[in-house]
Subunit: 575 residues, 2 copies
């Protein structure tokens, strides 16, 4: 049997990962990888950090070169080479050498499509002028760096508050630029619910980022005479005009399906390539991986687009196995993701409350603010935790974590629990590693499980941050059980104040004809209060996450209406 | 119905946790907690850090006082009060006020025993002289600090290389003392296998700790004339004599069962209190939690003693539920634990290889050394990872992790996976949070799963570090595929050197009549090499963990014989 010819379109995460695995499975195969850009296997997720200078050596972004791929794996990697057509019946691809302008036909036994995604361009005038950049590959960041240098850029506008937009905001700020971040939605980092995204908004504002939420760009205007802006003046729907020396367009990505469409492969409703559990397309000789495909959301069972490096790499491995005749399945994605934003870290896994509401799925939500490790050991920081679960079965729907320490660990533990099909109750029993520098005897994840158990067993009924705004004072009363000192620093309007230590003596002050919603700083002392009141015959609910969650939600304009599926609000104009 | 009387013996982790939960479940119960020492609810695990000064404020160790327990929970906490007798038929306890010397009888409806453990004292002359300390409670660390100050102590000897011994070694060293650590076994931190403990030995030596392994103390001698030693001269079996200004006795703990034995409660073979899944003792009105009880090892199904704060706290909650008529189960422990030692962190979950060998259970072991996060982002550190699994089912037996960054996260993910019953294969598919500062597109845990898959599917056969020492050169050859530069820094004796990039051209140099064991730095490139060689018809195995694991094992004297159940070796004499 002659060696199989395996062609791969795209040489970054999924494509490169598959190529190396194929070689390990088949030493004789001819493996050819085509990459349109000048680099294979570069550190996609590192690009913003090279702009900011945290990654100082450009060569660190280049994980492999065509030479190193050949030396180690006998993979032929052809850069600046585009696959322009697939002839499925002949099993050939037409390949264009972009430098030489020549074309050739390459036969294949198996074809793997890993073309990635393309940045969404705004349907607006002006974005194609100089000084406007996307962040997709190494040449993009080369250009951004040289533009910033050449124009001594002082003011940047970042359009889009997703991962890339936030990372670029951070990195440009670290470089010393004044940064405006503009987001059409009322919140950044859409996988978070709005009250959790509120922490990011607060952090951005605290760092001096000029944040515009719920306020889309309507034009990139040419600077007027006397307007200092090397790139453009970014005009927002609200009327704000932001002069920019450099504009970063980070409006998200869409699957690159030009070739798949030309080849007549089946696409999904979301515009990605449709694959089966073996990552095979509608053609039995063609597989596809990465940002270009639609995957199953493992929580909801729906198709989704999830342009993340982790899944792409795993898909590369699975596709390689199947191409080499080793049956292997990729059953979908869980949406686990993480972001560092200045001193804050935010991560999530599974689905959020907004999605659950949209799909009409039953859920319960709990919020907590435990310390990242034992409070008596220096350096503990509160961790804001939101856990969503099915009220009937207790099965986890998803979780969100925001804080300054220990966030990535809790996200990963919760992601593992979610994938393993654990209930919220089981989180209480997880035996996690405890020593004072790392956690607590009751880890934040354990505490989330205990809160979940308390809710599911009826020991406490939670109230949510978004209910407090709309309370009818004739029917409910918020009781704040924090200390006087804490209350002085801010409180929920309309709440009455009875410190927990006085509660048992002051029961007579509380109404028995209305529901009582108890609140403290984090929801823990108010839980104690709820138990006292309930046992004394009051109708009571505990404000989950209490003051911290409630106040974080106020950082997101129109958070409650946005959560319920509305359009949310817009940041108040400032300055 | 009159209020129930619930008495609790012991006011630290399990006891305090139970008391607070009982109050939340039963506002009317009378809850009385008896603590022999002067403090309730102190930060047991924080004690070493107060000696070292990392925890600078003594009051931070005191999580609650009798006053705060009364204010918040209406718990009567009586310190310096010892329960000296239980009358099970009368359901009373006899209580002695240690200050006043008076006794009283207290009736109970439910009794919870949370007496903790007592430090093991060495059966040797001299340990009771001044300057010899255990680390059990706040008065102990008060005394250690004042002794060190009063005697201007310069030299410390720590006896015992468990968690407390290692933490005290670190903290005394941080205080500027010269520290000798003496351990009777050939390794510290017994839950680790010897090649993983080797990293701790290397760290201790690198920090200048005088480490004596496999060398038990035989006497604490009075210093001779002219011997400067404020406490004693510690004599080891090998003949070493270590002058000590302060001696820390950290030989482990045994369950405190004085009261349980007096009461005639059933004890287990390991000397702990026997309880059922509801943490009820052999008396239906008495429950027990914490260091004093035996628990099921969830991996092996055997009884074990596990004196850790995390399980104690969870047990407190479960006992409280059962005492209050809410059925709740504690089904055992998983042995998850963690330690920080200077710049290194070591953690584990489940059982180790030594235990699996002793019990004759079938297992496969893989070692890895991936980076703690993406290599192109600054600050990544290698993480030494060992994963043990059942070769037939793939079910995890346990895991060990050692490194300078990201260790606690991987331990917790692996602990969660173990508890959830995942296979090693499933680790490959875990969707963990990836951004450059936190992980890699293929997280170390994913990589462990991929290695496990490769082993289980027969793609590669692992060789172990302990096989390399005993290789018959007529039957096997070690081939080192690292670079020349790496090889110059050390290699496995008897190995031949062919860099991976030259392997395909130099196949003719390799024997076909012998098994080839390929090695590199971490086991990854040698896996690539193994795949090449196997596909070219060689008999080949991959040295799992390769040079890094092999060289770490050499830090543990007699590591291989100790792993197999022998006695191991002794550190070579130095200086």
């Amino acid at each position: 049997m002659s060696a199989r010819r395996i062609l791969i379109v795209g040489g970054v995460a999924g494509g490169a990962s598959a190529a190396a695995r194929i070689r390990r499975l088949d030493e004789r195969a001819r493996i050819v990888m085509f990459e349109r850009g000048p680099y294979v296997s570069f550190a996609n997720c590192g690009l913003p950090y090279y702009v900011g200078g945290e990654i100082s050596r450009r060569e660190d972004l280049l994980l492999h070169t065509p030479e190193s791929l050949w030396d180690r794996f006998r993979i032929e990697a052809r850069v600046r080479t585009e696959v322009v057509e697939v002839d499925r019946s002949a099993r050939t691809v037409r390949v264009r050498d972009l430098a030489a302008g020549t074309e050739s036909l390459e036969p294949y036994d198996a074809l793997l499509l890993a073309p990635g995604s393309v940045p969404v361009r705004p349907p607006l005038p002006g974005w194609e002028r100089p000084g406007h950049f996307v962040v997709r590959n190494v040449p993009d960041v080369d250009e951004i760096r040289s533009w910033i240098g050449a124009h001594a850029a002082r003011r940047a506008v970042v359009v889009g508050g997703g991962y890339i937009g936030l990372e670029m905001t951070e990195q440009l700020h670290l470089r010393g630029l004044e940064v405006s971040l503009v987001e059409a939605l009322p919140q950044v980092m859409a996988p978070l619910d709005p009250e959790m995204a509120g922490w990011l908004h607060r952090e951005l504002r605290a760092r001096g980022v000029d944040l515009h939420l719920g306020d889309p760009v309507v034009a990139f205007e040419e600077p007027g005479p006397g307007e200092a802006a090397a790139a453009s003046v970014v005009r927002l729907r609200s009327g704000f005009r932001l002069p920019a020396d450099v504009v970063i367009l980070a409006l998200g990505v869409r699957p690159e399906v030009t070739l798949a469409r030309q080849a007549g492969l089946e696409l999904g409703e979301l515009g990605g390539i449709r694959v089966d559990d073996h990552l095979r397309t509608s053609d039995p000789h063609i597989w596809a991986v990465g940002d270009a495909i639609e995957v199953r959301d493992r929580v909801t069972g729906r198709w989704t687009l999830l342009p993340l490096a982790g899944p792409a790499n795993r898909q590369g491995r699975v596709a390689a196995d199947n191409i080499c005749g080793r049956p292997s399945r990729y059953e979908g994605s869980w949406g686990t993701a993480i972001l560092r934003l200045f001193g804050l870290v935010a991560g999530c896994t599974g689905v959020n409350e907004r999605t659950l509401r949209r799909l009409g799925l039953p859920f319960e939500a709990v919020h907590l603010h435990p310390g990242s490790h034992a409070g008596y050991y220096p350096g503990a920081e509160p961790v804001a935790l939101k856990v969503l679960f099915h009220p009937g079965t207790g099965r986890l729907w998803g979780a969100q974590v925001v804080g300054r320490d220990g966030v990535d660990k809790r996200v990963d533990v919760l992601a593992t629990a979610l994938q393993a099909g654990l209930t919220v109750d089981a989180l209480a029993d997880l035996e996690l590693a405890y020593a004072p520098p790392f956690g607590s005897a009751k880890d934040p994840v354990n505490l989330a499980g205990m809160v979940g158990q308390n809710v599911r067993s009826g020991l406490v009924r939670p109230a949510q941050w978004h209910e407090v705004e709309r309370l009818d004072p004739a029917r409910a009363l918020v009781v704040d059980v924090r200390s006087a000192e804490e209350r002085r620093q801010g409180f929920i309007p309309g709440s009455v104040h009875i410190p927990l230590s006085q509660l048992r003596e002051r029961l007579g002050e509380l109404p028995r004809d209305r529901e009582i919603i108890v609140a403290c700083a984090s929801g823990q002392r108010s839980y104690f209060a709820a138990r006292i009141l309930e046992q004394h015959g009051f109708r009571v609910r505990n404000l989950t996450g209490s003051y911290r969650t409630w106040s974080a939600a106020r950082e997101t304009p129109g958070a409650a209406t946005w959560l319920m599926g509305g359009t949310g609000g817009r940041s108040p104009a400032r300055g």
